[in-house]
């Protein structure tokens, strides 16, 4: 019973994990991206369409990354190069994503593909309780574990990561050291968006191998909230995404068990949880435990007089 619940937790949490990681990369560079929901949809549709056309899941994942990378570049162009308002640009990106996927998705509605299958990791999958949930999963889930570690390593053990963190905190300081602020920011936004796209593709290639209009159902917004909950750390993002996944899994379980509580109320739980998380993490932020990048949301203009 618990094993099944844990398994469902990981599977429900993974798309949100990818999206949260992508958003963290954006925000570490100092750019707020509210286009996550739209980027996930773009990733979900491109991934599904590419796999449907080619039969290759790998190509599907790549297509999701590339399509979201390109869509994210629009956000980067507006917010980094043109120093536009990040909130407005991000919201526009979400609406763009919802619209364009509804339009181009019509052709593949109702089609099916062979989605990602489970591959047990030898030995590890035999572990009691957690073995099946974490190590009898598909390749995308294993990739998400790797990504969590890689992002941490990138930020804290590589020169590029240090430079990117500095840009998010104080772009003028980075500029004074000769670091090309705009180039870094652009790449961070575009690559981060690419990973968000993979999160979307998880839905259409693994969770339910088909395309359904607006299939993200607000998961992108939950990722935006989880970035704050995770204090911009990839490991805490893993924790947050699974917490959310766990609540989703539980409410499905309750429904299956046939409780008297209305299904609508149960389906609300993950979103209520998101609000609670935001309240708690905001209180924590105010107590000075903030890990928020110092220049988050502010455009950088070298000639601006300080």
């Amino acid at each position: 019973m618990l094993e099944i619940l844990l398994d469902a937790t990981v599977r429900a949490g993974t798309p949100i994990l990818f999206a949260t990681l992508g958003a963290i990369i954006n925000e570490r560079a100092g750019i707020i991206n509210l286009g996550i929901e739209g980027l996930m949809l773009i990733g979900a549709l491109s991934g599904f369409a590419a796999t449907f056309a080619s039969g290759s899941l790998l190509l599907g994942v790549l297509a999701a990354f590339v399509a979201a990378f390109i869509a994210g570049s629009i956000h980067a162009l507006i917010t980094v190069q043109l120093r536009g308002n990040q909130i407005v640009s991000g919201l526009a990106l979400t609406m763009f994503g919802i619209g364009i996927t509804a339009l181009f998705g019509r052709g593949v509605v109702g089609q099916t593909i062979d989605g990602f299958e489970r591959h047990a990791v030898p030995l590890l999958a035999q572990l009691p309780l957690v073995g099946k949930a974490f190590f009898n999963q598909d390749w995308l889930i294993y990739f998400s574990f790797l990504l969590v570690a890689l992002i941490w390593f990138f930020f804290y053990r590589t020169r590029w990561g240090l430079e990117l963190r500095t840009i998010g905190e104080n772009p003028a300081a980075a500029d004074a050291c000769g670091i090309p602020v705009n180039r870094y920011r652009f790449l961070a936004v575009a690559c981060g968006s690419g990973f968000v796209g993979i999160g979307g593709a998880y839905l259409s290639l693994a969770s339910t191998p088909m395309w359904i209009e607006n299939m993200t159902a607000g998961r992108g917004w939950i990722a935006v909230a989880l970035v704050i909950f995770a204090s911009w750390s990839s490991f805490r993002a893993l924790f947050g995404a699974y917490l959310f996944g766990g609540i989703t899994a539980m409410q499905l379980r309750f429904q299956a068990m046939g409780t008297t509580v209305s299904a609508h109320i149960l389906q609300m739980l993950p979103y209520i949880f998101t609000i609670v998380v935001l309240v708690i993490s905001t209180i924590r932020l105010q107590k000075g435990a903030s890990q928020q990048p110092g220049n988050l949301g502010l455009p950088y203009d070298r000639e601006d007089r300080k």
Binding site: R157, L162, R165, G178, P180, E303, R305
Partner: protein, 499 residues
């Protein structure tokens, strides 16, 4: 010595402001070259042009006789020009090590922290400095933060180092240490551009001095050609330094009484401990020692008082918030001009009525009266000689001296009984500083009492009637500037002697 760098006819404008009009001067190898000028003369703008932060509208730079153009700070840094900015280019949340590392060249993508640390520690030791590389920058004093900036340049092996008012934030001991390091760098053949308002330092360290005025280079003088008086004269040019006289003997009437006040800071330590003080009408009372900031915040209602009372004209104002303190007649010139003195993005007109915007004269029913607010601004601009930009432009574009005048104009507009001024002349040029002193002295003649909080003993001596010395949050005693020596006050400040 050949010229290392030449600037010819540099011009730089911002919307509505000519920051640099026509600046030309040159820097030789191995000299300390001081730039002198009033606030808003264009010193910092010029240095931002030199470091590639600002692209000049016209004019040229020549390095080693070759014309150069800087598209970004990266270009100027590559040619060995580095700067310690007045507002430090540091990340407070990162460690000292991380802050220094981003400035280093040749750090591999996957670096070894130990190797980089050793490299940095070597330079720190070489210059006899003391820095904890693991500490987060926000925990360090401003003086220590400045050393980080300097070490970044030393590790970059810059040929030309620019220091924008480095001593403004240093204690005298730290400043002396800085000068030692600068002289040593000079001996190594490096050039240093030094910006300071403190004449004594300029005289001590400069090989040459270039004077800027209103965005133009006035002249460059060699060592021996200048003295303090001449420099001050050139800097101010035709402008008159405002004259003022110390107030008449003040009356016996007590306007402000502090009884056994205790204030704790965020960390729970006592900033003020059972502190008592009496302020007489028309008096200028200086405060020296630590705990000054807590005193100012307690008086102006910005901090929570633990115990004790503050009486203004007999009325208890201990628990009042900032607006009611103002109504009770206490005006405040805060320490951090841009952070709490003004709203940087609002216009001059709006900043001038921040405290009394509810007054009937600025309203038409529920609406603001734009014309009355504009008239008020015009009046204040004239009265306080504020050099204002075009109407409606954000007040942050003004120079430090003018921003201070805006604050003073606003604070004095309701004829306060008491003025609490924190470091009111910090970072101001001679003309502006004298102006602030004149306002305080004139106010005293009209019966306004002032509590002047300053680290600058010279300032306290010059203008105060009495100096109260605080040590560890307690009042040690009063000193009379006409009879006590600086050494006596120094001993009181260190808690060794009480008056």
């Amino acid at each position: 010595m050949p010229d290392l760098l030449q600037l010819t006819h540099i011009r730089k404008t911002f919307p509505g402001v000519i920051a640099l009009d026509d600046v030309s001067f040159s820097i030789r190898a191995g000299e300390i070259h001081t730039l002198l000028g009033e606030n808003g003369a264009g010193k910092s703008t010029l240095m931002n042009v030199l470091t590639g932060f600002y692209a000049p509208d016209s004019g040229g730079l020549q390095l080693d006789g070759q014309p150069v153009r800087f598209a970004s700070p990266r270009d100027s840094l590559a040619l060995g020009i580095g700067m310690v900015h007045q507002h430090f280019m540091l990340v407070p949340a990162h460690s000292v090590l991380e802050n220094i590392m981003i400035a280093l060249q040749g750090v591999p993508l996957l670096f070894s922290r130990r190797q980089q640390r050793a490299r940095i520690e070597q330079t720190i030791e070489e210059f006899g400095l003391d820095l904890d590389l693991n500490a987060p920058v926000w925990k360090l004093s401003i003086g220590a933060q400045q050393w980080i900036e300097l070490i970044k340049l030393l590790l970059r092996d810059c040929r030309l180092l620019i220091l924008d008012e480095p001593t403004a934030v240093l204690t005298p001991q730290e400043a002396a240490k800085l000068f030692q390091v600068l002289l040593r760098l000079k001996q190594q053949g490096k050039c240093i551009i030094f910006i300071s308002h403190k004449m004594r330092e300029v005289m001590e360290i400069s090989d040459r001095v270039t004077i800027l005025k209103k965005g133009r280079s006035v002249t460059t003088l060699e060592k021996g050609e200048f003295d303090q008086k001449k420099l001050a004269g050139l800097m101010i040019g035709g402008d008159r330094i405002p004259e003022w006289q110390k107030s008449l003997p003040f009356s016996e009437e007590i306007v402000l009484e502090i009884e056994n006040l205790s204030v704790r800071n965020d960390r729970g330590l006592a900033d003020l401990d059972n502190f008592s003080l009496r302020l007489q009408k028309g008096e200028i009372l200086g405060i020296a020692g630590n705990g000054q900031k807590a005193l100012a915040e307690a008086l102006t209602g910005l901090t929570r008082v633990e115990s004790g009372r503050v009486l203004a004209a007999g009325e208890d104002i201990t628990r009042s918030c900032a607006r009611s303190s103002y109504i009770a007649g206490i005006a405040h010139i805060p320490e951090d001009r841009k952070a709490i003195g003004i709203v940087p993005d609002l216009s001059l007109d709006e900043n001038l009525i921040l405290k009394n915007f509810r007054a009937k004269c600025f309203r038409n029913g529920v609406f603001q009266s734009r014309s009355a607010i504009r008239d008020n601004a015009e009046e204040k601009i004239g009265q306080f000689a504020i050099k204002a930009g075009p109407p409606g432009s954000p007040v942050r574009l003004l120079s430090g001296g003018n921003i201070q005048k805006v604050i003073i104009a606003r604070e004095l507009s309701e004829q306060p009984a008491v003025l609490v001024a924190l470091y009111p002349t910090r970072g101001l040029d001679i003309g502006s500083a004298e102006y602030v002193h004149k306002v305080i002295a004139d106010g005293a003649s009209n019966g306004m009492s002032t509590i002047l909080i300053s680290e600058d003993l010279d300032e306290l001596y010059k203008i105060c009637d009495r100096i109260a010395v605080i040590f560890r949050g307690r009042l040690i005693g009063y000193a009379d500037p006409t009879s006590s020596s600086r050494a006596e006050i120094g001993l009181m400040m260190s808690g060794e002697v009480s008056a």
